[in-house]
């Protein structure tokens, strides 16, 4: 229990921070917001690294590889596609 409550506290507070920041994003940028947030959810990569680096059995090795590859694709692809999209938005000049 000594780790549960602090973890829950962080989770709930981060939800509020998230809502505060994200409600200010204009509809113009909702697609990049979604793909950018999606790239951030690739943070699960951090967790997959710890698991797959431990290398205990062949089964967890295979699972670890799959998880790292999927999460990496999520992170790399997510940030790049968001960058590409945002580069297209320009003002009248």
């Amino acid at each position: 229990m000594e780790t549960f409550v602090p973890a829950l506290t962080i989770f709930i507070l981060a939800l509020f921070v998230g809502f505060e920041v994200i409600t200010k994003v204009p509809p113009l940028l909702h697609t990049p917001l979604m793909s950018g947030a999606n790239a951030i959810s690739g943070i699960t990569l951090v967790g997959t690294l710890i698991t797959s680096g431990a290398r205990l059995t062949t089964a967890t090795e295979i699972l670890g590889f799959l998880a790292v590859a999927m999460a990496t694709a999520n992170v790399v692809g997510g940030f790049l596609v968001t960058h590409r999209m945002l580069g297209m938005f320009r003002r009248k000049d």
Partner: protein, 468 residues
């Protein structure tokens, strides 16, 4: 806490702060590119810190995963067209959810061997169950959403008889297996069985939802993959995972609620009602339109445009399908060169994901200050001479103003294009939009139909206008 661990945790905190600053950057187009880069740097920091972790003894698997995943990510991000962005986001989202489910499974299997964590606590097992369940639903749900968007499977809702009973049963089985996992963490069978059933649930949940409701589905699946990442953070007791997952969850739920409000429908209605299954037949719509549709040629519309002072273009999914954004930009430039004011009317749910139209028009170099959202453009239609509707239907359908609950779009805020002096609807036929109902706008006194493909008609209008 040993010194190294405390240091790593401080760096994780820095990464989390970078994510928040990055998302803040997305509140304005001028700071958005920088914001995205800041968030990416936060990710890089979190990854580098993790690679220093003592528990990682071998890097072969990790490097292999980086190379394969990195290649897939780069190729998908650069090879895909802007029209396909909803599909691309769906795929990445599925990857994230799937990675969470698989990784917590591996973590659990290692914990069973007595490695890696000191004892298997209830917090550990319940987080494993939660991340596995949500991650698997996000994986297969996103796969189905991808299939629908890519037209690999039927875009209209597929309604399986007794699906509500089946779904509740599947969910109960998942919860049962999850409880087994928490109460008796001695084998990995309940976990993988739960992941299997949850994968089926993900398919069952998305398959009855129609293509036009995809903005809601994609937002919701995005929230799920965020929650799965947060759950993964609980498994590892890692704060950066919890914070990042929570931020993404907030973004996903916020957009989900916004999209539902933009259609005046509840989330339950979008997910369970199967809207778009019933489509008005040709004869039904012909009765409504019979003899009252005024069809125009590109030349006639060009005449109308050349006399206008203000023109508003209302794009819909048809513009995306026809890839008409560049042809529309040419038309806009020509109109502006004649001193005609041109703006774009953007409905929140036009297209297949939130803000989809903005990305397509930005791709065609249309300045973002011309992309005007519903609340701000609606009061201007009375002062607008001509509205050009390109491939939009339900979002300009005046039937939405009706409160009759049998109309699927009743109460949905629409673009009030019918208040303009003239409305030209560019459309291939009189077929109904996704909601499957007729559109009285097509026979309004101030409406003209310009039958044809959105791209070809935009080009024909430009040619015709040059000759006037």
């Amino acid at each position: 806490m040993p010194k190294e661990e405390a240091f790593a945790k401080l760096l994780y905190l820095a990464a989390a702060v970078l994510f928040i600053i990055g998302l803040k950057g997305l509140t304005h187009p001028r700071t958005a590119v920088r914001g995205n880069i800041i968030a990416a740097l936060g990710m890089l920091l979190a990854i580098v810190v993790t690679l220093m972790d003592q528990r990682i003894v071998s890097f072969q698997i990790i490097v292999a995963g980086f190379v394969v995943g990195g290649l897939v990510g780069v190729i998908m991000a650069y090879r895909s067209s802007m029209t396909a962005i909803p599909q691309v986001v769906a795929v990445f989202n599925g990857f994230g959810g799937g990675a969470s489910a698989i990784a917590v499974g591996a973590a659990y299997m290692e914990a069973l061997k007595g490695e890696w964590i000191e004892e298997i606590t209830i917090q550990f097992t319940s987080s494993v169950a939660m991340a596995g369940l949500i991650g698997a639903v996000a994986l297969t749900g996103s796969a189905i959403a991808f299939g629908k968007l890519q037209r690999l499977i039927k875009e209209r809702p597929v309604l399986i008889p007794g699906r509500h009973v089946i779904n509740v049963t599947l969910l109960l089985i998942c919860l049962g297996l999850g409880t087994w996992l928490v109460v008796d963490p001695t084998g990995s069978f309940p976990f993988w069985a739960m992941v299997g059933v949850a994968s089926l649930l993900g398919i069952m949940l998305v398959i009855p939802i129609g293509g036009a409701d995809m903005p809601v589905v994609i937002s919701l699946l995005n929230a799920y993959s965020g929650l799965a990442a947060a759950g993964h953070g609980w498994v590892l007791n890692n704060s950066v995972l919890i914070i990042a997952g929570s931020l993404v969850g907030a973004a996903g739920f916020f957009l989900t609620a916004l999209m539902c409000r933009a259609m005046n429908r509840s989330l339950a209605n979008v997910i369970f009602a199967g809207v778009g299954t019933v489509v008005a037949t040709e004869t039904e719509t012909e009765d409504i339109y019979a003899g009252r549709v005024k069809s125009a040629s590109p030349e006639e519309v060009a005449m109308l445009l050349s006399d206008a002072r203000r023109v508003v273009i209302a794009p819909g999914y048809g513009m995306a399908v026809a890839q008409a954004q560049y042809a529309i930009q040419d038309l806009m430039l020509l109109l502006e060169s004649r001193g005609i004011e041109v703006d774009f009317a953007i409905h929140p749910v036009a297209g297949r994901m939130p803000g989809h139209m903005n990305v397509l028009l930005a791709e065609a170099n249309i300045p973002y200050d011309k992309l005007i959202e519903l609340e701000r453009i609606n009061p201007t239609f009375r002062q607008t001479d001509v509205v050009l509707v390109f491939g939009a239907n339900d979002v300009v359908n005046p039937m939405a103003r009706d409160s009759d609950p049998s109309i699927p779009i009743a109460g949905m805020p629409i673009l009030n294009v019918d208040e303009a002096h003239s409305v030209v609807i560019v459309k291939r036929s009189l077929s109904p939009g996704f909601a499957g109902i007729a559109n009285p706008l097509f026979v309004a006194d101030n409406s003209l139909m310009l039958f044809g493909d959105a791209k070809e008609m935009a080009m024909d209008l430009t040619t015709a206008l040059k000759e006037t």
